[in-house]
């Protein structure tokens, strides 16, 4: 055990956990966050995506020791039901979900992309989504929602 400090959605937390524990467990089990999810535990699907120091990161394969002191943003940190992020709003407007389990993967990956590249081309969006999964195949609406948010974020 050793103690690891993370700043999650603006608040600093200290964890007494095996430093090899993946970040996902600290977020979903220690902090009880519901955004990041376990989908594969292998870095293959994106369900566990959070933003670490500005970059979309798969928390299921990121040991805590690698992110000591990092700033982490999760799905709940980017907007609320009352004040949703433009991506969250776009997903509601487009009704871009079926089961919704992949929403975290899609929105957080898109957010990291649009934050650094607000005018991302369709090709760049596809590239960013190339290993993000939605097994309900809500692809049509999700891509439409991302494009809608891009327009709104670009002003």
């Amino acid at each position: 055990m050793s103690s690891i400090t993370l700043k999650v959605n603006g608040t600093t937390h200290t964890f007494d956990l095996d430093p090899s524990t993946p970040l996902l467990y600290a977020l979903s089990d220690e902090l009880g966050l519901r955004g990041p999810k376990f989908g594969c535990g292998l870095g293959e699907c994106g369900a566990c995506t959070v933003i670490v120091n500005g970059e979309a990161t798969r928390s299921c394969v990121t040991p805590l020791q690698l992110v000591h002191g990092a700033e982490i943003t999760t799905l709940e940190g980017i907007g609320t039901i009352e004040k949703p992020h433009p991506l969250q709003k776009a997903f509601i407007e487009e009704q871009a979900a079926q089961c919704g389990f992949c929403i975290n993967a899609v929105i957080m990956t898109a957010k990291a992309l649009l934050d650094t590249n607000p005018k991302a081309s369709d090709e760049e969006i596809r590239e960013a989504m190339s290993n993000v999964l939605c097994r309900c195949f809500t692809h049509v609406r999700m891509m439409r929602a991302i494009h809608r948010a891009r327009r709104e974020m670009a002003g």
């Binding site: 055990m1 956990l17 095996d18 090899s20 524990t21 993946p22 467990y25 979903s28 089990d29 009880g32 966050l33 519901r34 955004g35 999810k37 376990f38 989908g39 594969c40 535990g41 292998l42 293959e44 699907c45 369900a47 999760t74 799905l75 709940e76 907007g79 609320t80 039901i81 949703p84 969250q88 997903f91 509601i92 009704q95 979900a97 079926q98 089961c99 919704g100 389990f101 992949c102 929403i103 899609v106 929105i107 596809r126 590239e127 960013a128 989504m129 190339s130 290993n131 993000v132 999964l133 939605c134 097994r135 309900c136 195949f137 809500t138 692809h139 049509v140 609406r141 999700m142 891509m143």
Partner: protein, 791 residues
């Protein structure tokens, strides 16, 4: 009153979220049931006979379950007028919760936002069996369940309103949660005043008048998914997020090979590991419980288990041959006009083709998860199962408990599409919790989910048909083989899924039967009979087509893997063969495939979807393949397929437009045009969403998905080895044409579009290239091989 006892205890097991939901609904179920001191006893005096024994479809009178013939089992109205509806059909991403809320709002004449829906909690919702097979719409919309309960409640409120306002019911109207006097809008009384917080204490009236679709104001309009704002902001409680006080974490250790059994477990191999609470062994079930999830995972990895070797698997390379030649078989005859051989002998041309479809998996986005709290002789399980009541029964068997002491509370999981690991993981959590006497959460690893789920059926299908000199089909024969092992556990067969089998329960036995008995009535639930056949059994023809010489024989054989009802089970595979073969016949007859279909279809609703899809896709009328084929480079084409899903539970047709790179063998679908008729449309946007999702999921299945194995174990165990289509693909345009039939009965929708896309894509490839694909998935190697075979 039939339901006092179970509730008070049930609520103690609710998570804060569930409690919150009840409170947001404006009442607590307990308060409602226990605090409603005033029972309305005077209904019969109002002339509202408490009709006994209403015939309810699909809902069972199960001991300990809210009685389905009681109105209070379905509908509760709070003092502030807000409505809580209880249903036995669960939300699994298919949008049924939204549609059910619309239904209640419509029949009860209250705003959509005033309805709160609670689904699938055994102590408080009626038993409606399993949510599956596109049955939820028919069950709760057509039959005397939720819809009839809401209509009964409205009629009752009209009578109460009449008494309250002193005006005959004929001069009243129900609107916005109140009874109004017609022409005097200010004179009204709210539902809350009339009944708020009290029991109706009435039977559901089978004669209560449903609102005709022509009067709908809420149904038939797009409604938004109520949970979506919470989901997109990370507030929503999936089953994966259920946390109970004192909860521990379990990780299972599945056999390394199919059929391997436990010889010994060395518990010492994990003793002293941080957080480990217990190693649990029950026959061939092995699991570890620890304080934290990562500790459980580490310990499960380290635990030394000696396993016997597996029983070996048939080689995948010639599995289809093995399937076809296995004996004994269980045979079913769907139709047999007895004259097929002679009609084929007299035909001008006879065509034969064999189609192959692989095992595929549900492969849910999230691995299955459940939380169980088993203490003493009581159990509460939070589960994403599609059947809380059946699960209650089979869990009770597995735990050796009285089923009245087992509660199953549905919580949403990741999209399931049939039977993923939801039931198995509920058993896993329950077994581990029982062993430690504390709540235990289990979420399967990706590999454990994929290697052991109940796969969708592999199929081998022989098609044979004859054409006369004018190119009309004169006879059609279909013979198919598919493997089965296990399925949904139902109320009493836990051995139908992996965990139940590991602890020693038998799966549903395979019962050989050959020859098949003569069909007694026409049934086409599995779409084994092509849409173009007359479906004649006895002296009735109940099929959707014109071909009177017909024979359909299906063989099942035992499967080495668990199998289950993956979205559109058997229907998708049979339809792939029928609709591809229909295209082959049209090409042989040199007739436009849309016109050729219409020539052999008699049922108007199916003809209409075919015409609608072809029209919207602006298909030019000509035979396939298209003229002037180029044999290299990228070729484009279009293909059509249609189906009367389950013979008559939804009608759909699709046109696929594809581009085939003839050098690489890669297929890219550019566009789908889907037409759909599900009777009256409850939620047009929700229906479109289902059609789009079904089309793309069907596309992923036919282009890449295939379970693989070696001589001992499944080898497609993650997203690198099981090939699905990610979000970054070139997403086809999907146009959906909705055919609304407000005066017909509601049908299913969720499994319709997925049923037809495989054939439509194969037919489009043929149109583009002249190459016929008969084996799914259409990998680039198979495409290249088919291109080489071209004349």
């Amino acid at each position: 009153m039939s339901r006092q006892a179970p509730h008070s205890t049930s609520l103690s097991g609710l998570t804060p979220d569930a409690q919150g939901a009840l409170e947001r609904a404006g009442l607590s179920r307990r308060a409602f049931l226990q605090g409603a001191g005033v029972l309305i006893v005077s209904f019969s005096a109002l002339g509202k006979a408490a009709t006994a024994g209403a015939q309810l479809f699909g809902a069972r009178s199960t001991p300990g379950a809210p009685s389905p013939d009681q109105l209070d089992s379905w509908i509760a109205i709070a003092a502030d007028g807000r409505v809580t509806a209880y249903t036995g059909k669960s939300e699994i991403g298919q949008g049924i919760s939204t549609a059910q809320m619309q239904l209640v709002a419509e029949e009860l004449c209250v705003p959509f936002d005033n309805v709160h829906l609670i689904y699938c909690e055994t102590p408080i919702t009626p038993d409606e069996g399993v949510t599956s097979g596109s049955q939820s719409h028919p069950t709760n919309f057509n039959h005397r369940n939720l819809a009839q309960a809401a209509a009964t409640a409205r009629e009752t409120l009209m009578q109460l309103g009449s008494r309250h306002l002193g005006v005959p019911a004929a001069s009243l109207v129900a609107r916005d949660g109140a009874i109004h006097i017609k022409n005097q809008p200010a004179k009204k009384v709210g539902y809350g005043t009339l009944i708020g917080g009290k029991h109706f204490d009435l039977h559901v009236d089978p004669h209560a008048k449903r609102k005709p679709a022509s009067e709908w104001t809420i149904l038939g309009t797009p409604a938004k998914q109520p949970d979506l704002p919470a989901i997109v902001t990370g507030q929503f409680e999936f089953v994966h997020n259920v946390r109970l006080p004192g909860m521990l974490h379990g990780e299972v250790v599945r056999p390394p090979e199919v059929g391997a059994t436990v010889i010994g477990v060395d518990e010492g191999s994990v003793s002293g590991m941080p957080g480990v609470v217990k190693v649990v062994v029950r026959k061939n079930f092995v699991g570890v419980v620890a304080q934290k999830p990562w500790q459980a995972i580490q310990a499960a990895k380290k635990l030394k288990v000696r396993w016997s070797p597996g029983k070996g698997l048939p080689p995948q390379a010639n599995y289809y041959e093995h399937l076809r030649n296995q004996k004994p078989t269980r045979d079913s005859l769907s139709v047999d006009s007895k004259d097929v051989p002679e009609k084929l002998a007299a035909a001008a041309t006879v065509l034969k083709a064999t189609y192959y479809y692989p095992y595929q998996m549900h492969g849910s986005m999230g691995t299955s998860c459940a939380v169980a709290d088993v203490r003493g002789n009581h159990a509460t399980i939070y589960s994403p199962t599609q059947g809380v009541w059946p699960l209650r029964g089979s869990l009770a068997m597995l735990l050796g408990l009285d089923q009245e002491n087992v509660k199953v509370l549905f919580r949403r999981g990741a999209g399931c599409y049939g039977l993923n690991g939801a039931d198995a993981v509920s058993y896993d959590a329950a077994i581990l919790s029982q062993a430690v006497g504390k709540p235990v959460r289990v979420q399967l690893s990706r590999k454990d989910e994929m290697a052991w789920e109940n796969f969708g059926y592999a199929f081998v299908m022989d098609e044979r048909a004859g054409l006369d000199a004018h190119g009309n089909i004169v006879a059609w024969e279909h013979e198919a083989w598919f493997p089965v092992h296990g399925s949904r556990p139902g109320y009493d067969t836990p051995g139908n899924v992996i965990t139940g089998a590991l602890v020693g329960f038998q799966s549903r036995p395979f019962e050989p039967r050959s020859p098949a008995p003569e069909p007694r009535r026409f049934e086409n639930h599995d779409n084994s009979v092509p849409s173009y056949c007359a479906g004649k059994v006895g002296d009735k023809s109940e099929g959707t087509g014109t071909i009177e010489s017909e024979r359909v024989l299906i063989h099942t054989v035992p499967s080495p893997f668990f199998t289950g009802p993956l979205r559109s089970p058997a229907r998708l595979q049979n339809t792939f063969a029928h609709e591809s073969f229909m295209d082959e016949l049209a090409a042989q007859a040199k007739v436009d495939p849309v016109a050729f279909r219409l020539r052999h279809l008699s049922f108007p609703r199916l003809r209409d979807v075919v015409t609608a899809a072809a029209g919207a896709a602006k298909c030019d009328a000509r035979p396939s393949p298209k003229p002037d084929l180029q044999k290299t480079g990228v070729a484009s084409g279009r293909g059509m397929a249609c189906v009367a899903y389950e013979g008559g539970n939804g009608y759909t047709a699709v046109v696929a437009e594809v581009a085939v790179d003839q050098d690489s063998g890669r297929i890219v679908v550019k566009r789908f045009v889907v037409s759909i008729d599900v009777g009256p449309i409850s939620n047009p946007d929700g229906l479109k969403n289902q059609m789009e999702g079904g089309a793309l999921q069907g596309m992923s299945r036919v282009l890449g998905e295939e379970v693989t194995w070696d001589d001992r174990k499944v080898t497609s165990i993650d997203w690198a080895t099981y090939h699905t289509q990610f979000l970054g693909i070139e997403v086809p345009q999907v146009d959906v044409v909705l055919l609304n039939r407000p005066d017909d009965a509601a049908t299913g929708a969720g499994e319709t579009s997925i049923t037809v896309v495989a054939a439509a894509i194969g037919n489009a490839v043929f149109d583009a290239t002249g190459a016929r694909l008969r084996e799914a998935p259409f990998t680039s190697d198979r495409v290249k091989a088919a291109l080489k075979l071209r004349a």
